[in-house]
Every structure is written in C-alpha cells, then in structure tokens.
Symmetry: C2
Subunit: 427 residues, 2 copies
C-alpha cells in the first residue's frame, strides 16, 4: 500500500470512505475487548496452581529450621533469596524478600527517602529543594504516578533502542536536585528495549550532582523471554561498585508475572549499606513478610531450572498473542507510513507510535468500537505525550482469538485516525 | 510474708542472704528461657494448619467470581470484610484488607499523613510544626518506635484502669500540634486494660486543637479472651459519628494472633472519607493485596462462629500460662509490697510494676540467670520509664513448664532487686 502522505486528495478521500466503512462495520460487531493492562491470562496463572495447596501441612519449616508460620525473618528465607539470586542479579545476602508487590517496595523506598533520606544523603529529600527524577519515555505509568503523587518533578528522557539517551542523562544528572531515575532495563515497559552494556556502564559511572542519587532499577521482566534469544543485561550492582558508586542502584523485581500476579513475591536488592538502610526502615514497619508464601515458591519452583522451565511455559502461551498483534499491524499498516511498532523479545507490551497528534483519537475510536486501550499519554510523565503519538498494547490477558480481532480493530483505528489527520492538515 | 519496707535492717540482711542464695542456685541451673515477645506458641499455630493447604486447586474464585490469583481487589474480598466485620468493629464497606501486618498499615498511615496529610488537614503533618502523639503508658513499643523514627513528639499519659486519664488527654489535645493518639482499647498491651464506655465516649467527643487529629485505634486483641468474660468495648466509629467527628478514628486489626503470626490478614477501617483517602493512597503503592490469603482465611474459619471457636482453642492453650505467671508472682511476692501485677482477661501480656528504680536491675538479674525479658523502659516512649519500674511479661511462646520456671525466676529477681534497693536507701 502507498504511503498515506503521498496520496492525492481524491485518493485520500476515497480511502477515507472505505476505511470509515470498514470501521463502522467493525464497530457494528459490538465487541468488548480489553488490551489495557499487562495482566497474565488465567491459563498463565494455571501454570502455578501447584502453589494453591502448598506448603501443605507436612512441612512449614525453612532449611535452617525456622517455623515459617510465626513472626520474624525480615530479610526473607535464605533459600528463597538463593533461588531468585540470578533473576534479581544480586547475591542472596544483598536481597530482601517482601510481600506481593515490588511497586510497594519502590513506593516505600521513595517515602523513606523523602522522610529519612538514603545513605549518603545530606538531608531527607523532602527537606531539600524539590527532588527530580529522570523518566525514560515511553515508560511505566505506575512509576510516574508515585512521583506525581509526592510532588517529585519528572523530566522525560528519550529512549534510543539501546536504553535512554545517555548524553542527555549525563547532562541532566549534573543537577544536584536530580535524585533518581526510573529504569526498566530489560524488555522495558512499554518499548521492550534492552539496555546495552554501554548504557548500563555509563549509568553506573556517570557523575551526578546529587551525592544521594539513586537508580530505581525495576528489572520486572528479567526472565520474561518471548523468543529463544534469552537476552542478558550487564550487572548494575557490580558496575556501580567498580565505578566507586556502590550505593547508586536500588534493584526491584517480583514474581507477579512468574507465578501469581496477586500473590507473588517482591524483591529489593542493593549494596550492603542500602540493604542495612532498607532493613532498618522496614523493621519499623513490620515484624516480617509472609514466609509461608516464600516457602510455597521454593517448594513449587524448586530451583532456577524450574523457574526457567516455568517461564518457557508462559512463553508458549503468550508469544502467539504478541505475534497476532504485530502481524495484524503489519498487514494493515505496513507501507502506509502512519505507524511504527515494536516486536519485543520479551516483556509484556507492544509500543506503537502512530502519526503525531492521533493517539487520543485512536483510543477514542477504539473505545467506541468496544476496544479498551490504555489512555493516550499514560506512558509519559503527567500523562502528557507531547506528540500525542504513543500507544501501549497489552496482549497477554485476552484469549488469542480476541487478541487477533482487537489487533485488526486497533490497526483500523490507527489508520482511520491518520487519514482524518492528513485530510485536516491538507485543507 | 512481711512487707520488705517494714523489716529491720538485720532481718533485711538475713533475707538478702537467703534470697541471694536462692537466686545463685537458680542461676546455676543455666537456663535459657525467653519471655520477651508476644509470640504465639507452635501449638497455637498448629490450630491454623488447615490454612497450609488452602485454598487448594479446586476453587480460587471469590463469591462474586473474582479470580483471587490475579491482580486487583484493592479493598479486599467482600466475604473477608464481612467475616471480620464484628471483630474489626465496622461495616464491610468501611473495611480495607491488607497483607500480613497491621503495624505496616499504621506505619503507612503515618507516612502518608506526614507527606500528604489526612482528610481535613490544613497541611501535611511534615509541613507544620513538629506533630505530637499522646501515648498511654505503659504501651506498645512498636507504636512508639514509629513515632520516634519519624520525629513525632510523644507525650505519655497514665492509664487509670479504665483506659487513659481522660482529664489529662482532654487537656493535652487542646494543643493543635497534637495530631494523634495511640490506643489499644481492649486487653491493652501490656496492662490488659479495657477502655470503659465513658473513656471511649470522651475520646470521640473531646474538643481537639487540631482539625486533623486522629485516634490510632489498634484493636489488636478484639477477640483474644482469656476468661469466660468476653469483654466488649464501645464502638468508636459510631461514637465519633454521633459526636460529629466522623473522621477521627483510624481502626487497625489483624489475624496475626488469630491464625498465623507471619501470614495473617491486617485490616484498616474508618469513615467513608478516610477509607477513600486510604484507598487513594494505597492505589499508588500496590495493585492489590494477596487475595489468596484472604480466600484461605474464609475457607478455613468459614464464619464468625468459626472464628470464635478458634479463639477458644487458643485460650485453652495460653490461659494456663498466664495463670502460671500470676500464681508464681503471688506465691513469691504476695504481701511483700514490692510489686503489683495485672491479671488480664485477655490479650498477650502481663504488666508488672516492681519497686521504683529496680526494673533495669530485674532485667539484668534475669538475663544473668538465663531469662530473657523485654528491656526495662520499652513500654515507655523513647524507652524511658521515669520510675524504672514497669516490666512486660509475655508468657504465650514458651512451653507451660518453662513459663512456670521462668516466672519463679522472675519473681525471685524482682524480690532480690527490691531488697538490694531497700538496703541501699536505708544506708
């Protein structure tokens, strides 16, 4: 198909009529499909149903004889920290196991940094000038929501295909009010990007204006591969240590998209000083996490090989859904020049950049056709996409046949919005 | 036995020799017993072992068809809120179910009040003058630790047998910097006191200088009876509403000492405005709590009758331990005038007031004899008991025979410390 931009007005109007008719027909089907959130499908959760009757009555003690039913064990059971050590990217003694939400751990690190400060902080963040976070875009809306909620200023940084634009990052972190940066280093949400070794090295080595600057390293998709290429990223903790910035990185991970989304384990990992800091703060908040759920995970996954086998089973269920989306987009939009989209090797999202100024309209058109999409702009700080262009598609939850239908509909909406936009601007 | 204070010097010295000899003999036994924390015994946890294989693979959906394995459900499953409604003292729609720690919910309410303010707050607490909390004493060390950690000033208020001294409380809350008050209204930690209807009514009705004053109502022992007298307390939410202070009380409760100490459910309850506030804040922190653990609790306890039966089984296990402590104290210290102690109808602690200026020495003597006691002063803000008198005994965890031995040893230490003190002051 010809590039929309190259079409004569009359051809464009003809195309508009045809595509509008297709859209009306699609809309007439009265569908109700949801592609808004990165939520595992029931079949994916079924893979972990073994957890539902564990640890069972026969054995509720940890390897070192701790009764997992009682209070205590703030850092988490040693065997759990060992099992997830590679996934988290830290040795067991630098890992803390929390309850079911890594977002909660990130939130707590920010509230504690604001009220108490982090190791090396001249003052708590709330007592200095308004703190700023760097936010690679497009990014994760829930990261941005925490910053917005606590009045932390957010500066967007463009992604390059190798991770964030490091020249820009190095320029911005010179400002001492820049206290942190959100990073999803592997299969990033939503672009699927993988930070290159060079990007990670520069993040670890760069000079920051703030002595208490922290990388919020949300490695949410460490083992969430969609292809045979199991990409690895450089170890941020090691590189920070080498660069004499041992306390720079806060690592976060969880099993929400490994075992059970609502009943997984979350992890914090960092330098010895940061881990001491975290445990000291956490000790004021709780006597300990749910150790029975930790035992459940060890009994069920058994070891790292078991974890990786489990992730292969996920891949078998969701890779076809990602394929369905990208092929529908290719089929409908290939050659039109109205959109680019990612073909991620892992993670939970496909990121689509439509024609500038059309994202809101696409979501509106989709909504009228019974397709729920994440609000346009939600991948940007404050929900403001300056180009009104980025769309985040989450194909994991609906059944494959629905993903196919929804993707055709979304492609249609993207095309229709682009034609409308072109017609307007050619007037 | 004669009151120590009435003894002649020579009799006192004789007694000192005898008691010292007894103590040395006790110490020679080289025991290692722990009465420091209110921790359920393994036998108590066994009562809830049914949870360890639930919800099982057959049914992981809530009554309204929600898949408890997946994300969401921030407020908690309706059937869980219904099951614990009476225990918590609020209708289901005013209850929020958290993960395994009510302390964590209290901590979060304080961090959010500091950073964001509560409904009706002119500013976040951290942006006004140093906030102050009233702390009935003796009280719960972990409450005080949160305040100390965040620089919240603490003012002790004496307990009266009916709850805190309300004349004093009403006088102090006139100060607008007094933003909160810790309350354990039933079977209080550590005195076992039960707030009278009049006390609760006055707390609800009193005029506070701060428009955003909050009662932190930690009803940790609502169903934790040790006798046939199942004491009830007045409903603080209702009374606050009647007194036109509907948003005054934050309620907290948990099943840590009902089902499993490390894997229970925690609850927040309050007015509609406060619940909206809490959910709005919590939504930034997590996508939802562990709903599978909620289902476990419903499947296991079934209904309120099941909950109360379960608590009766606890009572059968721990009431004899409380009896062992009080009878050992009575036998050894009765008539000596050196100590008073509580005989609680519920809860987890026995509070002992020894002779002024001896508590630290008692803990030291006990420690040397292999008896671990909670540090003297820990029931007071900043760990400072001005009279160095109060001791908190936690008899639930050790086996009954150990509780007997430990109690005899503790009584001996209390007596010896009192004799030493009297000898010194008589010099």
């Amino acid at each position: 198909m010809k590039q929309i931009a190259d079409l004569q007005d009359t051809d464009l109007q003809t195309l508009h009529r045809d595509v509008q008719a297709e859209y009306d027909a699609f809309r007439a089907r009265g569908l109700a499909l949801d592609m808004t959130r990165g939520k595992p499908a029931p079949e994916q959760l079924d893979l972990a149903n073994g957890l539902l009757s564990l640890p069972d009555n026969r054995d509720h003690h940890s390897e070192d004889g701790v009764d997992a039913r009682n209070y205590g064990g703030l850092q988490g059971l040693p065997e759990v920290r060992a099992l997830f050590s590679t996934m988290v990217g830290a040795p067991p003694e630098r890992i803390v196991v929390g309850n079911n939400s890594s977002l909660a751990i990130m939130h707590d690190c920010i509230t504690w940094a604001l009220l108490k400060g982090v190791p090396g902080a001249p003052t708590p963040w709330s007592q200095g000038p308004t703190p700023t976070f760097l936010c690679p875009v497009p990014g994760y809306d829930r990261h941005f929501a925490i910053c917005e909620d606590f009045g932390i200023r957010m500066l967007p940084v463009p992604m390059t295909g190798q991770g964030p634009d490091m020249d820009e990052v190095e320029r911005l972190v010179a400002d001492p009010t820049v206290k942190g940066m959100w990073c999803v280093p592997k299969y990033a949400n939503p672009t699927g990007e993988i930070y290159s070794v060079e990007t990670v090295r520069r993040l670890a080595a760069m000079r920051t204006g703030a002595p208490d600057f922290r990388l919020f390293w949300d490695n949410a998709y460490a083992v969430h591969h969609l292809t045979d290429r199991h990409h690895a990223i450089a170890n941020i903790l090691d590189l920070c240590e080498t660069a004499n910035h041992p306390d720079r990185a806060f690592l976060f991970a969880s099993t929400s998209k490994v075992t059970l989304a609502g009943a997984g384990l979350a992890f914090f990992a960092s330098s010895p000083a940061n881990v001491r800091w975290y445990l000291e703060r956490a000790a004021k908040r709780t006597i300990g996490p749910d150790k029975l759920n930790q035992l459940r995970h060890v009994r069920f996954l058994k070891n790292e090989a078991g974890l990786l086998r489990h992730m292969e089973a996920h891949r078998a269920l969701i890779a076809p859904k990602f394929e369905a989306v990208t092929s529908a987009l290719e089929q409908r939009l290939g050659g039109t020049g109205v959109a680019q989209w990612t073909k991620p090797d892992g993670g939970y999202f496909i990121s689509v950049d439509g024609m500038a100024g059309t994202a809101k309209r696409v979501v509106e058109l989709a909504q009228k056709a019974g397709l729920a999409l994440t609000p346009a702009g939600s991948t940007w700080p404050y929900g403001r996409d300056p180009d009104d262009r980025n769309l985040r598609l989450a194909p994991t939850y609906p059944p494959l046949k629905d993903v196919r239908i929804a993707s055709e509909g979304i492609a249609l909406c993207i095309l229709l919005a682009a034609i409308e936009k072109t017609l307007l601007s050619s007037r």
